[in-house]
């Protein structure tokens, strides 16, 4: 999914290539040997052939197709560039139709050695900086502590949900990301801190994170708007996240995340308190069929949240999909969520549509949404094109 700068052989190397100098050297050496052996005996010739064979084999092992051995190349081979992007067209009832290059993302990574590496994700939203956003969503150092345990320090994605860590457009159905993970989790959600990430031979893995917490405004307990995005983030009250995931059976993923926020207002509001997010999901794929289900819920302590009717917020969705072929897939998704404790504000959205992959890393999407926001309907068409590398 990503381009290597030197670039291995992945995208540029459409034909085999032997560095000219090496080819020249080999040819000259063969000529040299030939020149010096015209009077040789049969055993000598056999010996020379054997020597030449050894040398040709040695050269063949050293030559990587399309690479060179310059210092620049050696540096570049340790540096990765990747990215993804998605252009959307939305035509929804009650809204002006719009076209938006929603996300343009670049990944940069570098391996300092076999055990220490850097990774980053840089995003431009809505095409321009003025009315859009430029965000640093990931920037961390990762170090292997053992073969099955590593640590990350820096800005990382919160290990929660299905989309938050894997959100390249060719990896999911629907032009827009599902509203439950957007409004409740809230994806994409990142924070600065430190983590331990472990795996086991049974397929069980775990993540433990200490990071900056949310910081909601006094009059707005929307979780999404409380993300501090590691931008001069207040760090009086930290957040603690734990996730456990099981992927020991091919096609199955079971995961659960708990996140504890010490104080959702960073102790600025005496009536605000701690908050806990619980999330769980399952993904099951068998041959061309995949089913996903996710549930997430916030419990927010303190009188402030209670008086705003937001002390409990929840959402869930169910998504069956079917790959008709390598290139085509269809899906349906039912979403329900409520960012308040008032039933009248419950929202639902049913989506159904199609993905077309002309290449595994390029996708065209078309879907129809039936959204109910209280008594308001927001039905309409979404079209999109996306890519990742």
């Amino acid at each position: 999914m990503s381009l290597k700068v030197n670039t291995h052989f992945k995208s540029h190397l459409t034909s085999s290539f032997i560095p000219r100098k090496t080819a020249l050297s080999t040819a000259m050496t063969i000529a040299l040997f030939a020149g010096s052996s015209h009077a040789a005996t049969m055993p000598e010739l056999q010996s020379e052939i054997k020597t030449l064979k050894t040398q040709v084999n040695a050269l063949a092992d050293e030559i990587k197709v399309g690479s060179d051995s310059s210092a620049h190349s050696q540096f570049a081979s340790k540096t990765n560039i990747g990215g993804y992007g998605e252009l959307h067209y939305n035509n929804i009832e009650g809204k002006t139709p719009e076209v938006d290059f929603h996300r343009f993302v670049l990944f940069f990574g570098h391996d300092f050695n076999e055990k220490i590496r850097f990774f980053s994700e840089f995003e431009l939203e809505h095409s321009i900086a003025g009315e859009g956003e430029i965000e640093l969503e990931q920037a961390y150092i990762e170090m292997d502590l053992t073969k099955q345990l590593k640590t990350r320090v820096g800005i990382t994605l919160v290990p929660v949900g299905i989309l938050n860590e894997t959100h390249e457009p060719n990896t999911f159905y629907g032009t827009e990301r599902n509203p439950v993970e957007k409004e409740i989790i809230p994806a994409t959600w990142w924070s600065a801190g430190a983590s331990l990430n472990g795996i086991t031979d049974s397929g069980l893995s775990y993540d433990l994170v200490v990071s900056e917490g949310l910081n909601v405004a006094d009059d707005d307990y929307t979780i999404r708007s409380g993300r501090q995005k590691s931008s001069k983030a207040e760090a009086s009250d930290l957040a603690y996240t734990g996730r456990i995931k099981y992927t020991g059976i091919p096609g199955l993923e079971l995961a659960a995340t708990a996140r504890y926020e010490s104080n959702i207002s960073q102790s600025k509001n005496p009536d605000a308190g701690a908050a806990t997010l619980l999330e769980t999901h399952v993904i099951y794929s068998k041959a061309n069929f995949t089913a996903k289900a996710l549930y997430a819920q916030w419990n927010i302590e303190g009188n402030a949240a209670k008086s705003h009717y937001v002390d409990k917020q929840y959402g869930y969705y169910l998504e069956p999909s079917y790959k008709l072929s390598e290139n085509w897939g269809v899906f349906a998704r039912y979403n329900e969520w409520n960012t308040t404790t008032v039933d009248a504000y419950k929202q639902t959205q049913t989506d159904f549509g199609v993905n077309y992959w002309p290449h595994k890393q390029v996708v065209f999407k078309a879907d129809y949404q039936l959204k109910k926001d209280g008594s308001t309907e927001q039905n309409g068409i979404n079209l999109g094109v996306g890519y990742s590398f």
Binding site: K4, S16, S36, A58, A60, G109, G203
Partner: protein, 200 residues
């Protein structure tokens, strides 16, 4: 002394051209380095566990039609000009072990594949370097390859496998890379077998 005369003359001619000296030294040191390089620990252990002691090591060059077929499986050329393989046993007990590499998302995944009678006997992830997608290392994933083969053996244009490989959520690219390498091993094996029987 007379026997040494041609040699001394050749040496004199060679030494008269500094570039030749340079080339000779370069080649000798190149060769020495390569021969000194042993198999990585994981690969050596896999080799020892799958084949009899002292298996024969040979190479298949990826040229001509083989190269084209490799590209059709990988969507790009293999990154080496030739691929090593090891064999032990004979007749129906002949086993071939391939060590192959392909990029998952950013980095190479090293895979060992043992083939017997054009069926995969065993597949193992020998080195996984990616940050995500580590689940392909699990035996529960690699066991899916045991016993599979091409649906239509010796049809170099059809590389469909006899069984569907179930994927892993969040590890799509790693799964794809390993599956490609399983097909590549089966393809290369067909060429090795065909060369031996003289059908190519």
């Amino acid at each position: 002394m007379n026997n040494l005369a041609p040699f001394l003359e050749s040496a004199k001619q060679i030494l008269a051209k500094p570039i030749r000296v340079f080339l000779l030294i370069g080649l000798v040191s190149f060769s020495a380095q390569t021969h000194a390089a042993a198999l990585p620990q994981e690969s050596a252990a896999f080799l020892a566990s799958q084949l009899q002691a002292n298996p024969s090591k040979q190479y298949l060059w990826l040229t001509g039609e083989v190269k084209k077929q490799v590209i059709s499986i990988l969507d790009h050329p293999y990154y080496k000009l030739r691929v090593p393989y090891w064999q032990s046993g004979s007749d129906d007990e002949l086993k071939t072990l391939w060590i192959l590499e392909e990029i998952g998302k950013h980095k190479l995944i090293t895979v060992g594949v043992v083939i017997q009678n054009q069926h995969i006997k065993s597949l193992r992830i020998l080195k996984f370097r990616e940050s995500r997608g580590w689940e392909v290392k699990l035996p529960s994933f690699t066991r899916q390859f045991d016993g599979i083969a091409f649906k239509t053996p010796n049809d170099f244009n059809n590389t469909e496998l006899t069984s569907y490989i179930d994927g892993i959520s969040g590890a799509t690219l790693s799964v794809r890379a390993v599956t490609k390498l399983s097909k590549l091993a089966l393809l290369l094996q067909q060429h090795v077998d065909a060369q031996k029987t003289g059908s190519l």
